[in-house]
Assembly symmetry: C2
Homo-oligomer: 113 residues x 2
């Protein structure tokens, strides 16, 4: 069993079309979690991830801050406690529209069904 605080995991720039986004890889296959990974993202005020899609799904939980999730045709406001399920191959973008950091967990599969 591994127990640690998320702040003990170093953040890295998320890169690739993001603006003001850092990611901490909290639980990964390197610690034997072979099925899915837990990451924590922090988005600066005004920051965003790219509007993109990919073959794997996202399971997201908003921890702090305010933002919006942008889809193919519409967007929706986000607050702490919101849950987002983004199926595979569906376009999505997360934006910080608030006045403090937007923090969320985003989990992805290692193996796809």
């Amino acid at each position: 069993m591994k127990v640690f605080h998320y702040l003990d995991v170093e953040g890295q720039l998320a890169g690739e079309g993001t603006e003001g986004v850092t990611v901490r890889w909290l639980i990964t296959k390197e610690m034997s979690a072979k099925n899915f990974a837990m990451r924590l993202f922090e988005v600066d005020v005004g920051g965003y991830s790219p509007l993109h899609s990919h073959p794997w799904e996202h399971e997201v939980f908003i921890l702090e801050g305010e933002g919006e999730v942008v889809g193919e045709e519409s967007s929706k406001r986000l607050i702490a406690g919101d849950v987002i399920y983004i199926p595979s191959n569906e376009k999505h973008q997360l934006r910080n529209t608030g006045k403090s950091k937007l923090k969320f967990l985003c989990l992805i599969p290692y193996i796809k069904k």
Copy 2:
């Protein structure tokens, strides 16, 4: 894409050896999430899950409250922001040792590798 607040999902008693534990199944295979499920647990003051093990791993993130995670040989205090990775077949128990509800996310795989 599905976006909703966790409070919009009804809680149910977790049952089976738990005391004062409710669970909300937030993201499940019923919404096409075939790889892993996101659940949110709330543990009353003094409540706990059973000390048990099973063939699937847990990926846990502590949202609110204080508690401890008990393992085979030791226990560790938990605060908000703590991350727990419990490998498959490893004994574990979560207890609320604080003065308010303990809330955490606990994700499990549908398919096991």
